[in-house]
């Protein structure tokens, strides 16, 4: 099956950057897959995501090589206005997503639909669907700026979901949030993933990524240093650590034990898997 996103040898520099920010980046995302992009600050994660909705290069300019095809459109040849109906983009700071013109949560979601000329009778239905999906029902009449961080980020996601894009791109959506906000937002992302949405997400919360990512791409200094099934990339503990990324603690524990003791522990990537494999390991030693 044809991938929904195909990135081939993407190389890019901002007009003001001394060096290339992305070098020969290639990957594919199929319909219904979740790709997590990880890596240290400054690795180029955010730039890479912006290459999927055309902000790179249409908005920023700069030097661009390679090819990005999204939902059948070659990004370089397609205006942002067309791409934005295919790719929903959620920014790191939810305030960046707010129109600033809407007085209420309801209006904020309706705003994008009106701008894109959706028929009048369809708008309320879409607004209500999107708000209830992200768990903001009951807050329709609030001002967007009275919301907590987690609520505002969920509102940002709702404004994007209302447009029913084929692909959802989220740029570190929890970076600015407190634990409750992180939990609220990641729950929405998990549910979208479970229900078959196509998602590309940059995220530092690696122990959470393990629950919903199908594939992971590890970026460092603009280059892809690991790319593959989530389990494989998370289990490459040394590679991650050498790039300044901490794997999930359970994964690292399994790695350290097998390194030091030569015991074979199937690498867990979630807490539940960890409980399972360490119970077996310790049970075998007659500990329980």
């Amino acid at each position: 099956m044809e991938p929904v996103i195909r990135v081939e040898n993407l190389t890019y520099a901002y007009p003001t950057s001394r060096d290339f920010v992305l070098r020969n980046v290639s990957f594919e995302v199929h319909r219904g897959e979740v790709l997590a992009v990880i890596g240290p600050n400054g690795a180029g994660k955010s730039t890479l995501l912006k290459a999927l909705n055309g902000l790179v290069p249409h908005f920023y300019g700069g030097k661009y090589g390679g090819r990005v095809v999204v939902a059948g459109y070659e990004v370089l040849k397609t205006p942002i206005s067309v791409l934005s109906t295919k790719v929903g983009f959620v920014f790191q700071d939810p305030e960046d997503q707010m129109s600033g013109l809407a007085l209420t949560v309801w209006e904020e979601v309706a705003f994008g639909l009106m701008m894109l000329g959706f028929p009048r009778e369809e708008i309320p239905k879409r607004v209500e669907e999107a708000l209830s999906y992200v768990g903001l029902k009951g807050l329709e009449a609030r001002s967007p700026f009275e919301l907590s961080g987690g609520q505002m980020q969920r509102l940002a996601i709702a404004t994007v979901l209302a447009l029913k894009p084929e692909i959802l791109v989220l740029d570190e959506p929890t970076a600015q949030l407190d634990p409750l906000g992180k939990f609220e937002v990641l729950s929405v992302v998990k549910r979208l993933a479970d229900e078959g949405a196509t998602i590309v997400i940059a995220e530092h919360e690696i122990e959470e990524i393990a629950y919903f990512a199908d594939k992971i791409l590890l970026l460092d200094r603009g280059q892809v240093v690991a790319y593959g099934p989530a389990r494989e990339v998370l289990a490459s503990v040394e590679e991650l650590k050498s790039r300044g990324v901490d794997p999930p603690s359970v994964t690292e524990l399994a790695y350290l034990l097998s390194r030091d003791l030569g015991v074979k522990v199937p690498a867990p990537i979630t807490l539940e898997e960890g409980v399972e494999s360490f119970s077996k390991l310790l049970g075998g030693a007659g500990g329980a």
Binding site: N41, S249, L271, V275, L281, A285
Partner: protein
């Protein structure tokens, strides 16, 4: 008994114009050399409490003593020399055009002679690993280094107590590691450090004592291990303990002798069990 550096007695605080209490009867004693984490949801009072520790805010009721000085009656410059506050967002704190000037600002304001200012700037920059950046424009630094610069500016005042407000927010893993080793180093040199944070892994690895603050009150206060193992109370406050603590507790329920707070402890404890 360690020397007491801060004492908070029945502290009540209300922001001007607000009719609800941000802090409601907080008691806290801090000894010289402790590394303490303040945890809890936003809006619970962590930052308000921390700002009461150096006179940025003053008690509405009750009192705060810093090295015996009552914050209500002591001039602010006497307090900031003793308790340095590093704000969460470095761009809110930085305003000079060079790294050197930024760090020199505080000591100069204290009216110190130029050679002492010079000495302190050099010392503070070397403490945080920014020696060599003296002539750089602060805004050319990456986020992690900007954060280190704000710590250096506060260190240059030679405070006894350092308050770090969400030092790891917005930092990647490498940035967190740099901060962790700085905290360990400063702790080794005898500084008292208070870290306001949501980063439970950072807490487990760096703070000896943890205080959970919610609804303007101290809910838990004790050794980090016991606070992070109080899973139910933490859950009520939307806090997840570090994955290693959750793993240990689950394995404990299954009858294994595990009590690990950090990855290193988990490795040692598992090895011990396997050896029999």
């Amino acid at each position: 008994m360690e020397r007491e550096v801060i004492r908070v007695e029945d502290l009540w605080f209300r922001y001007p114009g607000s009719d609800s209490w941000a802090l409601r009867g907080v008691n806290l004693r801090v000894s010289q050399g402790e590394v303490i984490a303040f945890i809890g949801q936003n809006g619970g009072g962590k930052t308000t409490l921390a700002k009461n520790l150096n006179g940025l805010l003053k008690p509405t009721r009750g009192r705060v003593l810093v090295e015996g000085l009552d914050t209500r009656t002591t001039p602010t410059h006497e307090l900031v020399k003793r308790v340095g506050y590093v704000f969460q967002n470095p761009t809110h704190q930085i305003f000079e055009s060079s790294v050197w000037r930024e760090v020199a600002y505080g000591p100069r304001n204290l009216g110190l002679p130029p050679d002492e200012v010079e000495r302190r700037v050099r010392w503070a920059l070397s403490e945080v690993g920014l020696s060599g950046y003296e002539d750089h424009n602060p805004y050319d630094l990456d986020y992690g280094k900007m954060k280190l610069l704000t710590i250096a500016s506060v260190l240059a005042m030679k405070p006894n107590v350092l308050v770090l407000d969400e030092p790891t927010t917005g930092q990647d893993h490498a940035g967190r590691r740099t901060l962790a080793s700085l905290v360990r180093k400063l702790h080794g040199e005898g500084f008292t450090i208070i870290i306001i944070t949501h980063d439970m892994k950072f807490v487990s690895e760096n703070a000896g004592r943890t205080v959970l603050i919610a609804n303007g009150q101290v809910v838990l206060d004790g050794p980090t291990r016991s606070v992070l193992q109080a899973v139910e109370v933490l859950k009520e406050n939307a806090i997840k303990p570090p994955q290693i603590v959750q793993l240990s507790l689950e394995l404990q329920r299954r009858g294994f002798k595990l009590d690990a707070l950090t990855l290193q402890e988990a490795v040692e404890q598992v090895k011990k069990i396997l050896r029999g």
